[in-house]
């Protein structure tokens, strides 16, 4: 346990600071049960071995660390990409769901529920449920089911039931509310596969324990490749599971600068964004004290991002603590900057990133001028297949002929 881990009550950065467990009493027993089962599992070599075996033989982990030469030339810094986009189901999220689903089986439960924004966590959950023979119900905001119909189809093909959530803003936060409502009524036989390193204790720490291999692998791979640690690491932050997974491997290396890039949407100054740390304030949302987009009365304000996976008005409490302590720095990246980075990476490296991950690429390019000749390691958390509809609209693609994506992307 380090100064960066949560204490026994789930507080990061000191008692009462960030995290904790602000939850209905009806769910406390389930959270306690989960916490005990998880702690026992993590010290049980059989569980750890089975989990690692699944990651290797099923999920395609460890993902490679790729040296992006052409992007490096463009940036003037040595850019390394942690290729989580190559994992089974196309993102880092498979690590988390395989861990939680395996834990579910160990606890003797037969059904899992999950919330999803873009659909990535829903698809990953449906995949893990199919793989391990569990029933699966996914809650998804009605707006998101329309934006991400292909992912709805994928979940259904994998055998999951997708329930469109029609309350509130009909997006990710409401899907979480609805999943919690389901869980209160089904907790005796159902596990909640939480999709990010947020929510009530023990979820932030539990999710971290299943994704921290991203950072552990990247650290080792970077040492093998370059002989030293990176000067800076970067990841996109919505709830923040890919980012905390990467960051965890480097927190105790003070010489490594840590950057999280939040969704700046139309620009923080417009109010239409999801930059929770940069422009939010401390509050309690979905069971944890953290930074929240909220109005004067503490009502949650709707977030906006071109990337459904970052479109969340809260953030994992460990990120809040890392921001408050100064160990990590968080900056917003706008929709336009992220889309430019998506196009740039596609043309420079032949890699189409998820729009979420493109925020990390864009952010890394913004810090590169101050870090000429240094090594910047970026978590490429997911691939862009799911985002082709958005890209098609944004860039005006899809009609045969020369590419309408201008070279501006490379200049940006």
């Amino acid at each position: 346990m380090t100064q960066y881990d949560a204490d026994l009550h789930g507080w990061f950065g000191g008692a009462g600071s960030f995290g904790g467990r602000f939850m209905p009493e009806a769910l406390i027993a389930a959270l306690d049960e989960l916490e005990i089962a998880w702690q026992k599992a993590m010290v049980d070599p059989a569980f750890v071995q089975e989990f690692e075996g699944m990651l290797q033989n099923y999920a395609g982990v460890p993902s490679m660390l790729y040296e992006a030469h052409r992007l490096s030339d463009h940036a003037g810094a040595r850019i390394l990409l942690k290729r989580e986009d190559l994992n089974h189901t196309g993102a880092h999220k498979i690590r988390n769901v395989l861990g939680q689903a395996l834990l579910t089986k160990r606890m003797g439960k037969t059904r899992v529920i999950a919330e999803t924004g873009a659909g990535q966590h829903g698809v990953a959950s449906a995949t893990a449920a199919a793989y391990l023979g569990l029933d699966c119900t996914v809650y998804m905001g009605e707006v998101d089911t329309e934006r991400q119909a292909l992912n709805v189809a994928r979940m259904q093909l994998l055998g999951a039931e997708v329930i469109p959530v029609k309350s509130g803003s009909r997006t990710l936060k409401d899907a979480i509310n609805e999943a919690l409502r389901d869980w209160v009524a089904s907790v005796d036989h159902t596990a909640y596969l939480f999709g990010t390193a947020a929510g009530p204790h023990p979820f932030p720490s539990l999710v971290l324990s299943f994704v921290r291999s991203i950072g552990d692998e990247a650290r080792r791979q970077c040492l093998d490749l370059t002989g030293r640690l990176p000067d800076a690491i970067a990841a996109c932050v919505g709830g923040g599971s890919n980012a905390i997974g990467l960051f965890a491997g480097f927190l105790e290396d003070p010489e490594v600068a840590i950057y999280g890039f939040e969704a700046g949407g139309d620009g923080v100054e417009t109010g239409r964004h999801a930059a929770t740390i940069a422009a939010g304030s401390v509050g309690v949302l979905h069971g944890a004290r953290t930074y929240v987009l909220q109005d004067e009365d503490g009502q949650t304000v709707e977030s906006h991002s071109i990337s459904a996976g970052l479109d969340y008005p809260g953030v994992g409490p460990q990120h809040a603590a890392l921001a408050a302590s100064g160990r990590a720095s968080y900056f917003p990246v706008t929709d336009a900057e992220a889309m430019d980075a998506m196009a740039l990476l596609a043309r420079a490296e032949g890699i189409i990133p998820a729009i979420e991950s493109a925020h990390a690429v864009a952010g890394a390019l913004q810090i590169a001028p101050e870090r000429q000749g240094q090594t910047i390691l970026i978590n490429l958390s997911g691939r862009g297949d799911k985002d082709m509809g958005t890209a098609l609209d944004y860039f005006g693609l899809g009609t045969a002929g020369p590419s309408p994506v201008s070279e501006q992307g490379e200049e940006a």
Partner: protein, 271 residues
């Protein structure tokens, strides 16, 4: 001046009956309409009033209360409107609690809200997503003013947690007697009786005399009578909200329906 709900529970106990606790969210259908509705419920026989603070992310509420709270928020209801509603209802002399998710209180400032609630004559808070182990600030602010601290117990609560919760509660302890969100239910739960029995056992040592209120989706006098046979208080929320939702735009009809429901329930807790 704030009046603890224990006064109402003691009076009911002296009458040999359970107390009727009625809920509506503030600002529904409007702030003044809500005050009129709550006042009608008081006049027709509610012993204690709970005023909901509408919140954007009400994870413990079912569709009925969610819809009402959303309607209030869409119309622009503010935390200060909730306090105004408390002041108006408490002025009738009926003990008045606020039921609220935690973030709006934290945002307002725990000390500042406690003082404003006290000044408005409010009895205290019911906190559905705040358990005593994560409530040191609220407990301190409430204790400084003798405000009621109504925490919840559930069928899934261990005996240890029930003891912790009853020890920290003042006014009454709220037994959520179904595993699920708020909402009217046709059948009462077989989880309620055992939960109340376990809670009463804990109260004997942790908080002698603390009443137990039961929220279980009661919607008529017969159900109220059944719950009143084992609980000190019968909490009714969704049925009142449903009554108002069923009479949109017709305040007189809504008021008559609310009065009829309250009288039926008040009869139930007395039978």
């Amino acid at each position: 001046m704030s009046t603890s709900v224990s006064v109402a529970f003691e009076k009911a106990r002296a009458d040999g009956r359970a107390a009727l606790v009625g809920y509506l969210p503030a600002g529904f259908p409007t702030v003044d309409g809500g005050i009129a509705a709550l006042t009608a419920m008081v006049e027709a026989g509610c012993d204690v009033i709970e005023i909901g603070l509408p919140y954007s992310d009400p994870v413990m509420d079912g569709p009925t209360i969610q819809a009402a709270a959303q309607q209030a928020l869409d119309a622009g209801v503010r935390t200060t409107d909730v306090l105004r509603t408390v002041e108006a209802v408490a002025a009738t002399g009926t003990p008045t609690l606020v039921m609220t998710y935690w973030n709006p209180i934290e945002r307002y400032g725990v000390e500042r809200f406690a003082q404003a609630l006290y000044d408005a004559g409010g009895a205290g808070l019911i906190t559905p997503d705040l358990t005593p182990d994560f409530a040191p600030e609220w407990i301190a602010a409430a204790d400084a003013r003798d405000l009621d601290k109504v925490f919840l117990v559930a069928p899934s609560s261990t005996d240890e947690r029930i003891a912790l919760t009853t020890a920290a509660s003042r006014g009454f302890v709220y037994a959520t007697a179904v595993m699920g969100v708020t909402g009217a239910r046709a059948a009462t739960s077989d989880l309620a009786g055992p939960l109340v029995a376990r809670t009463k056992r804990a109260i004997e040592t942790t908080a002698p005399g603390l009443p137990v209120g039961v929220g279980i989706g009661v919607s008529d006098g017969a159900q109220a009578a059944e719950v009143a046979s084992y609980a000190d208080g019968v909490i009714v929320g969704s049925a009142f909200v449903r009554t108002l939702l069923d009479h949109p735009g017709d305040l007189d009809a809504a008021r008559r329906a609310l009065v009829a429901l309250t009288e039926d329930l008040a009869q139930g807790v007395r039978s």
